[in-house]
């Protein structure tokens, strides 16, 4: 069957053509993507595969760079650069900062 992300040709609203300003975190996520590509740890296809693995609900609700964060995180874990446990610890630390 058709994958959720493969939406070409489905009824949809108008494309939002307004230029958006990027938040600092979005620029950092983009830079992380560039670094991982340069180090040959990530291809655009791997990133897409990870994004396409999101549930349809998550795919629709998450912002563009939020999808990227998940894809980069999954890739780092799969590559053995981060463990889930390390990521969990760090996320709790960041949460405590408030």
């Amino acid at each position: 069957m058709r994958s959720h992300h493969d939406m070409g040709g489905l009824p949809a609203g108008k494309v939002d053509r307004i230029e958006h300003d990027y938040a600092d975190w979005e620029r950092r996520v983009d830079a992380m993507g560039v670094v991982l590509s340069r180090k040959q740890l990530l291809t655009v296809d791997q990133r897409r595969r990870a994004i396409e693995a999101l549930t349809p609900q998550a795919y629709d609700q998450l912002a563009y760079y939020e999808r990227w964060v998940i894809a980069l995180g999954q890739t780092l874990i799969q590559r053995g650069i981060l463990t889930s446990a390390e990521l969990a610890k760090k996320m709790l630390e960041v949460e405590k900062r408030g």
């Binding site: 296809d45 791997q46 595969r49």
Partner: protein
Amino acid sequence: MAEPRFQPGEQVRVINALPLGHVRTPFYIRGKTGTIERYCGSFPNPEELAQMRDGLPAQPLYRVKFRQQEVWPDYDGSPNDVLEVEIYQHWLEKA
């Protein structure tokens, strides 16, 4: 590199496959018949790159031209309108 099998002007059909994994052939074009517009070069297979393999041998990529009316049955524009999609050779068969 895999050998290019199609020439510009040849009629081809996109295979109507629904594999798993990451693929670059949009759903809406599968099963449609078009014409090879040009050979774009050969590139590591994105379906393999997506799974952290090297994607070699490189696969021929073509720009394929479809009549809009072939792609969208209810298309009400000119019958001369076309849509071009870049498709890897392993998704194409002779029509």
